[in-house]
């Protein structure tokens, strides 16, 4: 693990571990924002993880933010960690006024002309946002606008983990007050959000694996621990393989942030984590049996997130199609010479 990762893990763990015994999940799922946890998150300065020091940030950049997101996934933190960090980062890059507040990043589809109202489905945490930072493309350039709370209307909805995913609409004329977002494409914003989710999933996958192995070593049936049965061992071994592949894919994508092959590695990270999510959840529930199916037992906090997150910001099908299309249209002699650029040459 890099020094940066150790630093972030040590200090964020203190905060995230603490909330596990709190009622933050219940609060969040009952449709209220976990204000106390959010206040602690802000007080520790985590919201500004990715901002430069000029912007009173920690200067840890996108990579530092992604590591925090992975940890948040591990602890099932019921806060918009991916969205709030990315939203504020985009606002800073566009030179918008920066407050410690919840800004939710949104990328508009390419064609918006002619519609007087912009309608967006499943915007994460929108009901709690102080603003939506909306990125869109005009003549090949990226623009960013902060659509403030009160300027958009919404219909509440949730994903399978009870996280707010609201349908939002606002007046298209509001886009006129946008500012240029230099050197960042809308595609990049999309891929960063996908990597954020992939990082959360990598964390959740690790947590599910640890919990399941622990359970298999404790629970006894037929006179021995269920983890001693080869049938169970083989399934858990595969789960461990897929989990470590997911962590590696996310780590590699983080390492390549800012490089020309950035999106390719992000695609592979989102594909790998999304694919692993289903297998891990299925296996963990099979091993836990009935107890894992209850609300009281915490496994569901991770598995419901994995089932939701694997489709958010692009499922493995969508990212595979995009990556595959790219590979089928390469200008290089063959796939191989393109592949090897991803590890340094």
């Amino acid at each position: 693990m890099s020094e940066l990762a150790v630093l972030i893990e040590e200090s964020a763990t203190r905060l995230f571990e603490g909330f596990a015994d709190s009622d933050a999940h219940v609060t969040m799922e009952s449709g209220k924002f976990p204000e106390k946890l959010w206040a602690d998150f802000l007080a520790d300065g985590w919201l500004r993880t990715m901002l430069s020091e000029d912007n009173d940030g920690a200067g840890l950049g996108l990579a530092g933010g992604m590591l925090l997101m992975r940890l948040a996934g591990y602890y099932n933190v019921p806060l918009p960690v991916v969205e709030s960090l990315t939203g504020l980062y985009l606002a800073a890059e566009a030179g918008l006024e920066l407050e410690d507040e919840l800004l939710i990043p949104v990328v508009l589809p390419a064609i918006v002309n002619g519609n007087s109202r912009i309608e967006l489905c499943g915007v994460p945490w929108a009901r709690y946002a102080k603003g939506l930072v909306v990125a869109f493309e005009v003549d090949g350039k990226t623009q960013l606008v902060n659509i403030k709370a009160g300027q958009f209307s919404l219909v509440e909805g949730n994903n399978m983990a009870g996280e707010a995913r609201d349908d939002v609409s606002f007046d298209a004329s509001l886009l006129a007050s946008s500012k240029p977002l230099n050197n960042i494409s809308t595609e990049q914003v999309r891929s960063w959000l996908a990597l954020g989710r992939a990082a959360q999933m990598a964390g959740a996958l690790r947590s599910v694996l640890e919990r399941t192995v622990e359970y298999a070593n404790e629970r006894s049936q037929f006179g021995r621990q269920i983890g001693k049965f080869q049938a169970v061992q083989l399934q858990l071994a595969v789960q461990a393989e897929m989990t470590s592949a997911s962590i590696c894919a996310v780590d590699a994508a983080i390492k390549h942030l800012g490089s020309t092959e950035e999106w390719e590695l992000i695609a592979s990270a989102k594909i790998t984590t999304s694919e692993s999510a289903g297998y891990a959840a299925k296996t963990a529930h099979a091993v836990h049996a009935a107890i894992g199916f209850t609300q009281e037992y915490p496994l569901q906090l991770s598995t419901r997130r994995l089932w939701s997150w694997r489709d958010e910001y692009g499922s493995e099908t969508q990212w595979s199609a995009k990556l595959g299309e790219h590979c089928l249209q390469l200008k290089t002699d063959n796939l191989w010479s393109w592949l090897t650029t991803q590890t340094g040459s």
Binding site: K228, V232, C248, K255, T272, S320, G324, L328, S345
Partner: protein, 382 residues
Amino acid sequence: MKKLNFEPVITAEKEATLRQEVREFLAGYGAFKASDVIDSWSVCDPEFSRAIAAKGWLGMTWPTEYGGGGKSYLERYVVIEELLAAGAPVGAHWVADRQSGPLLLRFGTEEQRQAFLPKVVKGECFFAIGMSEPNSGSDLASIKTKAEKVDGGWIVNGSKIWTSWAHACHQMITLVRTAPPSDNRHAGLSQFIVDLNAEGMTVRPIVTLAGEKHFNEIFFDNVFVPDNRVVGNLNEGWSQVMAELAFERSGPERFLSSYQLLEASIKEIRQAGLSKQSSKVIGEFVARLMVLRQMSLSVANQLQEGKLPINEASVVKDLGTSFEQELPEAMRLILDIEPRSSAEDGVERMLSDAILKAPSFSLRGGTREILRGIIARGLGLR
């Protein structure tokens, strides 16, 4: 629960230059036959082995005093993955370069190293693996080939099976029982270097279902092995074999065996026209390959750092062989082509070869179930 470590690696300028060198060499060497590119590390071509030996690409990581290249594991990784991706016939020297040489460097005597390593590096001495026996496949500790002590050496009787290229190799690292079985079934095993042309040896070919003739059954009839051909410590062969297997499990040959089919399929799809389905399947397999490369490279880097990532190596092999086995299954569903064993060339032939050879991918070097057992032990379940 031991954490599996796959810290990603980005290689340096040195490796990039070397990679270009390999590509230039391959371009100059000329194209390989389509019928040889699938599972090309099972294709034996001593002439090719000597050609790359001349480039210094055998025994790359070994000390220069034995003729080795004194290079890093990452440099070796780059060279072997370029050769494998191109479908180069690396089978003749593969075992000697990958595991027999490193075994002698770890456990061999100075005399043994001097006697064999310089020849291996020149592509003049090829090694075979003498582990499995009839009735002893995955359960290696149950082997029956027996060595009895005589003056100046050992007399070996028994047989080995599934030995690739024994008829083309010179020496074989052979696991034998040197003490009777006891409660500790891993005790009493030793590794011998056996000359494949020694008196009393019979090598009989076994043809695979794909029609290949690389497998053999080997019979030992009172074969004399001198004392100076015992590797490492007598009766401690088991732990030496385990270390050997760990090194052989994580390399790029564990996911590139059917790689040329992916390149050929991409060319085919480009000609026939893209579809949403074909893009999706290609993307899915490319993503898996990207991660496998990262993981395998990470293990190479850990070996370089002097670590012994045994569990990680098992993860790479299990995920990797699943990938190379599933690739032909997926390609046949998106290519509008029937596999043809009689085709001289093209994707029809590669598809046929890949389907026919795939079953062995997850058997050699430890079956899927053995690997998953090792991983489960690492998780603390056993």
